[in-house]
Symmetry: C2
Amino acid sequence: MLTLHHAPGSRADRILWLLEEMGLEYELNSMAFHPKDLKTDEHKARHPLGRVPVLDDGETRLFESGAIAEYLLSRYGDGTLRPDEASPLFPQYLQWFHYAEGTMMPPINTIVTHTILLPPERRNQEMLDMAQRLAGKVLVPIEAQVADKDYLIGDFSGADIMLGHAMVVCGRLKLVTDNHPNLKAYIERIKGRPAFIKALGS
Amino acid sequence: MLTLHHAPGSRADRILWLLEEMGLEYELNSMAFHPKDLKTDEHKARHPLGRVPVLDDGETRLFESGAIAEYLLSRYGDGTLRPDEASPLFPQYLQWFHYAEGTMMPPINTIVTHTILLPPERRNQEMLDMAQRLAGKVLVPIEAQVADKDYLIGDFSGADIMLGHAMVVCGRLKLVTDNHPNLKAYIERIKGRPAFIKALGS
């Protein structure tokens, strides 16, 4: 049995959504995104830093949303949601999958830190401005990529789980503007997917 | 023919090292880690943000070091440097591979920003202190992981390319201290590998 250790509003949402896209059965251990749930001895035994997601698959346990997504697609995907390794789409799939944590999330992390996580007196406007400028630049290639496609490599794939989730977060942070008509439409497509709605609401 | 677009001291070092570990032939387009080389029209045609690494493999072009590493191992690895997907080591491999960008690099990015990239008058000591505390916490699980193993999952693998490179960077940033004897030894093992020395020097 698969068990997902989850807290809403975190990267664990990616895995909850993926499990629904794949139609897999799972148990959900739903915690608050708060130290009172995540920094307990019980949860630190699952993840030494008290983070989510963590996936249990029988005796197998792993963390990191990118790792869990790759694991689920490899073990249970049966060739869906990612191109065959011999396909010319495979390098593109990998590129956009990794763009999420490698390029898009660093400025988002900073923006979340300086708008939500830190108390107002410790937020730094210059750091926030820098991160918002960088996020704007980093969105440009994604806006171009979905100009003529429904999803990042055409058909919906694991890359849309990773980077599409980051785009939904960018939408919430008001980083997606009228300068990003294709991204806006892409985010609406994602938020309209039945599995997304079932996992994360509308 | 493989061509790696590279700048020393960047994440492109991971790919240069991996190419040597795999014994692949490649051409190297070596640029300075400086806007005068990276933010040119020529290089922005390869990567819209003017970043490295970028890999060309004939007509195939992709960026993101994690994506390029996965691509090379998939297309040319012949089963080396990563466990078979059915192996019990595979989830661990994925976890530590993704820990590099998902968990380790965010505080490193902040530390580099506030010690090297920004001019001294714009550096923020509080942000630097926060990132250094976080980096210290994030190192703890890696220190534990290599306590009884030469490499992250036992044998050397692609996970050591991604996270091992991040550890070498942590060493340079003086984040690895006498509290991390296993990490120190791990970094020395990495820096002693012939492919590492050939790619990146001693």
